[in-house]
C-alpha cells in the first residue's frame, strides 16, 4: 500500500517535472464531491496528470477509466493500473449485445468513487478532438446526482503524441470547468455535442 502510493508520487513527480503541469480551477473547485471528470484524450500521460493534480485526499477516491486491452498487456502495466492508479478497466470492442461495457464504471460509482473518463474512447491521432462515444450519456442518465466536470487538457498532444515513445517537456495546463448536467429530455447526440463543446470552450 505504502509502496504503491510512493510509486504514484514518484510518477506524478516525473510527469510534473516534464510538463510543469498546473491545474486551473475555473468553473469548479477541488471539493470532496462524487464526480466524473471528463477530458480530451491525446496521450498516455493524460490520466496520470489529471489524477496527479487532484489534491491527495480527492486523488485516492478518484479512479481513472482505461482500456483493458492496453493495461492488462504486461505485468508492469497491470501493477500500475490496479495497484498504483486503482483504475477501472473497460473492454473495448463489445463482444456480444448482452455484455455492458459500462458495468465496471457503474460498480465504481455505486461504491462512491469518482472517475476520470475520456469520452472519445481512444487517444486522438490528430490535434482535433474526436466525437464523443455514448458512454458519457448513459452514465449521466443512470446517475443524475453525479457531477460531470469537464477538463480541458492543453498541450499533451504535443508532449507525447500517439505512437511516440519519449515525451517532450512542454508546459501543460489542465482547466477544470463547471459541471455539466443532462437536460430534461435532451437527446443523446445533443448532450454529447454540448459536453464536447464545453471542453472546446474552456480557456485558461
Amino acid at each position: 500500500m505504502l509502496l504503491d502510493r510512493l510509486a504514484g508520487r514518484f510518477l506524478i513527480f516525473l510527469a510534473r517535472l516534464l510538463t510543469g503541469a498546473y491545474a486551473n480551477w475555473v468553473g469548479s473547485r477541488p471539493e470532496p464531491q462524487q464526480r466524473l471528470y471528463f477530458a480530451n484524450h491525446s496521450s498516455h500521460l493524460d490520466f496520470l496528470l489529471l489524477w496527479g493534480l487532484l489534491p491527495p485526499a480527492l486523488r485516492y477516491r478518484t479512479r481513472p477509466v482505461a482500456g483493458a486491452d492496453y493495461w492488462n498487456a504486461t505485468p508492469l502495466r497491470r501493477y500500475l493500473i490496479h495497484r498504483v492508479f486503482r483504475g477501472v478497466l473497460v473492454e473495448r470492442g463489445r463482444k456480444d449485445a448482452a455484455d455492458n461495457p459500462l458495468a465496471p464504471l457503474q460498480a465504481a460509482i455505486d461504491a462512491g468513487d469518482s472517475l476520470i473518463f475520456f469520452p472519445e474512447g481512444t487517444r486522438s491521432q490528430t490535434d482535433e478532438m474526436l466525437p464523443f462515444k455514448s458512454g458519457l450519456y448513459h452514465l449521466a442518465q443512470a446517475n443524475p446526482a453525479l457531477a460531470l466536470v469537464p477538463v480541458r487538457m492543453e498541450n499533451l498532444n504535443r508532449v507525447m503524441p500517439k505512437g511516440e515513445l519519449l515525451p517532450v517537456p512542454l508546459v501543460c495546463i489542465l482547466t477544470f470547468g463547471a459541471a455539466v448536467a443532462l437536460g430534461e429530455g435532451e437527446s443523446k447526440s445533443a448532450f454529447l455535442e454540448r459536453a464536447r463543446q464545453t471542453i472546446l470552450d474552456l480557456r485558461a
Partner: protein, 327 residues
C-alpha cells in the same frame, strides 16, 4: 568585512579568494531583502491583506528570498553546482519558450534533441571549459542538425517558421543562458579563483536594474517607451533604473577585476542589453497573446519573465570581459 571573514568555512568548493567577498555580498543582499520584507509586512498591515498590488509585491519579495537562496546553494557547490543550476534554468526556460511556439507532430524528434541532446551537451562543454566548442555548438552544429531532424517528420507545413522558432528557443534559453556559467572559464590574471563573483556581479546588476526600472517607473513614469510592446516600460523608469543600476555596478567594483570606472561601463553595458532583452522577449509574449511566460515563480510569472534581461546581457558581458580582460 570582519564579520564575513570570521564565519566558518561552509563549503570547500568556494575558493578562499572569493569566500569573504561572496559572504559579504550575500549578507548585503540579505539585509536589502529583509528591509523589503519588513516594508512589505508594514504595507500589508496598513492596507490590508486584500490589496492585490501589495500581495503581488510580497509574493515577489518572497520569491526573491528563494531565488537568492538557490543561487547561494549553487555557489556552495562551486563550478559543478553553478553548471547544474543553470542547466536546470535553461531546461525550464526552454520548456516555457517551446510551449508557446507552433511546432507540429513532425518536430517531435527535433524537440527531443533540443532538451535531451543539445542542452546537456552545451552544459557539458561549459563544465569542461571547452571554449572552442561551447561558443559555437548551438549556432553551428545544433543549427544545422535540428532542421534535418524536423525533415524526418516529413511534414513541410510552415517548415521554416517551425524551424526558426525552435532555433530561437535554443539560442535564447540554452546558448545565451549558458554564458552565465561560462564566465567561470575566463582566465583573468590577478583574478584567479574568483570568477564566481563575475556571475554574482552580472546577476545582481541586471536583476537590480529590472527592479529599479520598475520602481522608478512606478514613482515617476509618465512617457511610455513602447506601449504596444511593453506597457510598463517608461522613459523615466528606463533612465532612473539604468542610472541607479550603473551606480550600483560601479560601487561593486571591489568584487570584480574592473576599475570603478570600468565597472560602471560594464554595468551600463549589461543593463542596456538587459533592457533590450526585456523588450524583445515582451514582444514575443505579445505576439503569442500571453502576459507571462509561465507560472513557476509566484508573483513573477515564469522563469523567462525573470531571466529575459539576463538572457541578453550574459553573452555580451562574457565577450566584453573576455575581450578586455583575458590576455
Amino acid at each position: 568585512m570582519s564579520l564575513a571573514s570570521s564565519l566558518p568555512v561552509i563549503s570547500s568548493n568556494v575558493p578562499e579568494a572569493a569566500r569573504v567577498q561572496t559572504l559579504t555580498l550575500f549578507m548585503g543582499i540579505g539585509a536589502v531583502l529583509l528591509f523589503a520584507s519588513v516594508v512589505g509586512w508594514l504595507l500589508r498591515w496598513r492596507l490590508g491583506a486584500g490589496n492585490a498590488v501589495v500581495a503581488n509585491l510580497n509574493a515577489r519579495i518572497n520569491a526573491w528570498w528563494v531565488m537568492v537562496a538557490v543561487i547561494g546553494l549553487a555557489l556552495l557547490g562551486g563550478r559543478t553546482g553553478v553548471v547544474v543550476l543553470f542547466g536546470l534554468v535553461s531546461f525550464f526556460a526552454l520548456r516555457e519558450f517551446l510551449t508557446l511556439t507552433h511546432t507540429r507532430r513532425g518536430d517531435h524528434l527535433a524537440l527531443l534533441a533540443c532538451f535531451f541532446l543539445f542542452l546537456p551537451l552545451q552544459y557539458l562543454f561549459i563544465w569542461h571549459d571547452w571554449y572552442g566548442m561551447f561558443s559555437i555548438f548551438v549556432p553551428v552544429y545544433a543549427f544545422l542538425l535540428m532542421p534535418f531532424l524536423s525533415c524526418l517528420g516529413s511534414d513541410t507545413t510552415n517548415f521554416l517558421a517551425r524551424a526558426t522558432q525552435t532555433q530561437w528557443g535554443l539560442m535564447i534559453c540554452v546558448y545565451a543562458i549558458s554564458h552565465v556559467p561560462a564566465l567561470l572559464a575566463l582566465q583573468i590574471v590577478g583574478f584567479e579563483d574568483r570568477n564566481l563573483l563575475l556571475i554574482v556581479f552580472l546577476i545582481l546588476v541586471v536583476q537590480s536594474s529590472d527592479v529599479l526600472q520598475y520602481v522608478w517607473g512606478k514613482l515617476f513614469g509618465r512617457h511610455k517607451i513602447a506601449p504596444n510592446v511593453s506597457p510598463s516600460k517608461t522613459v523615466e523608469g528606463f533612465i532612473g533604473g539604468i542610472a541607479s543600476a550603473t551606480a550600483l555596478g560601479a560601487s561593486l567594483w571591489w568584487i570584480t577585476p574592473f576599475s570603478p570606472l570600468a565597472a560602471a561601463g560594464m554595468a551600463l553595458l549589461i543593463t542596456l542589453t538587459g533592457f533590450v532583452g526585456g523588450l524583445v522577449m515582451s514582444a514575443i509574449k505579445r505576439d503569442r497573446g500571453v502576459k507571462d511566460w509561465g507560472h513557476m515563480i509566484e508573483g513573477h510569472g515564469g522563469m523567462l519573465d525573470r531571466l529575459d534581461s539576463v538572457c541578453f546581457s550574459a553573452p555580451v558581458f562574457f565577450h566584453a570581459v573576455r575581450y578586455f580582460y583575458v590576455s
